[in-house]
């Protein structure tokens, strides 16, 4: 047999044998701590309950909701269309299926935003992108969307518009009776007509 073959076979055995003595190594990439700190400090990682409500109502295809509370809480009450990934199963395969989406923004929420914040950090360290937290969580959701509080009459117009929107959203989510005494029963429509100027409509 050719000497070269013997040499190459020996080389293969040595290289492969060397593998047996290599310690196991896991090269899983993690977010650089400096970047992570920077990201944590950014307010842009939060979305408000109003934004979430708007996205649900408008059936925005580019976002998904993830409830990080326990399964029984999720069964009891959750937002429409939300997935349930309890925070303690975040490191299992299920998160890979749900969170590993580059094109879709994922919004995490819990009762408040503490658990969701923790989940956010874990998900971020697992290398997932486009993850957001619903500010205030479900408590804030109830306070602002389901049972919105009327602003004082002296409040700026933006507050009143927001209130109109929230009342509409409340109707949308609770399916409450339509007999709510409101001037603007448009329900979901939040864009208000601009006030006509005096000059308009003339000849």
């Amino acid at each position: 047999m050719n000497k070269n073959y013997i040499f190459l076979a020996a080389l293969l055995i040595i290289l492969a044998g060397g593998l047996l003595f290599l310690p196991e190594k896991n090269n899983q990439v993690q977010e650089n701590p400096e970047n992570l700190m920077w990201d944590i400090a950014q307010p842009t990682r939060y979305v408000t309950t109003d934004q979430v409500a708007k996205m649900i109502i408008e059936k925005d295809p580019l976002f998904q909701l993830v409830d990080v509370r326990q399964n029984y809480d999720y069964e009891y009450f959750s937002l429409p269309g939300a997935y349930n990934v309890p925070i303690d199963s975040l490191l299992t395969e299920i998160s890979d299926i749900i969170l590993d989406t580059d094109d879709i923004n994922t919004i995490l929420y819990s009762d408040d935003d503490i658990k969701a914040d923790q989940a956010w950090v874990i998900a971020k360290r697992m290398g997932y992108n486009n993850i957001y937290v619903m500010k205030g969580g479900l408590n804030c959701w109830i306070r602002t969307i389901i049972q919105p509080e009327a602003p004082p009459e002296t409040a700026p117009i933006t507050d009143l518009e927001l209130y109109e929107f929230r009342k509409g959203a409340s109707l949308f989510f609770t399916g409450a009776a339509i007999s709510v005494d409101t001037d603007n029963k448009q329900g979901l429509k939040i864009t208000r007509k601009k006030k006509e100027t005096v000059a308009e409509g003339g000849c």
């Binding site: 047999m1 073959y5 290289l15 593998l19 090269n27």
Partner: protein
């Protein structure tokens, strides 16, 4: 730029070092290289390829097993050096039914036609008429398969084991799998060499120059 912190790890596309739009360009380049090496290894000759079945030429087995062994060892060392994250490397899911049926059909086509899909194209590239006929049959087969797919879909998706590796299946580490595979490959090389010698009587071993 701080070169010390320039810590690039593979796989390059999943980790975003290369934008996903480039994968077709890279696929084209790798495809050209693959075709070149197939042709250079003599795989555009049906005699070389079908020699495996008649026992006079095992070059196919040697080339592919060498490629597998080198890639296996290389990837594991790369993983150890931190140049690649093996967890992110794509593992083709295993569908037992279609793998077994597919390999039977492929082997039959191999021994009947004298080409596998890749080598038929390299043979076309050097102007072989039988390869053109073979490729026409290949497209006919693809057409029939696509049309008949609803009938065989259940069978096709059966026996799904997921993206499983040998190590996971047998519960041993990748290193042990690689080492055993090297031993198996070397034994296969030696045994096929013996068979070749018997079948061909006068074997002229390849000379390294």
């Amino acid at each position: 730029m701080d070169l010390i912190n320039l810590n690039i790890m593979g796989p390059l596309i999943p980790l975003g070092h290369i934008a996903t739009g480039w994968d077709f360009v890279i696929a084209l380049l790798i495809g050209i290289a693959f075709g070149f090496i197939l042709e250079a290894s003599g795989f555009s000759s049906s005699r070389n390829i079908t020699g495996v079945f008649y026992g006079y030429n095992f070059v196919v087995l040697r080339v592919f097993m060498t490629a597998v062994v080198v890639a296996m060892i290389g990837l594991l060392y790369f993983n150890y050096m931190g140049w690649i994250d093996l967890n992110l490397v794509f593992v083709l899911p295993t569908y037992l039914n279609s793998m077994i049926a597919g390999s039977l059909i492929m082997g039959l086509g191999f021994v009947l036609g004298g080409f596998c899909p890749g080598t038929s194209y390299t043979a076309i590239a050097i102007g072989k008429i039988d390869a053109i006929v073979f490729t026409a049959g290949l497209f006919l087969g693809i057409f029939i398969f696509s049309e008949a797919f609803p009938l065989i879909e259940g069978f096709y998706n059966g026996g799904n084991l997921g993206s499983i590796t040998m190590g996971e299946m047998f519960g041993v580490s990748n290193q042990i799998v690689a080492f055993s595979f090297v031993i198996i490959a070397l034994i296969a090389f030696y045994v096929t060499w013996l068979i070749e010698k018997k079948v061909r009587r006068k074997i002229t071993p390849y000379k390294f120059e």
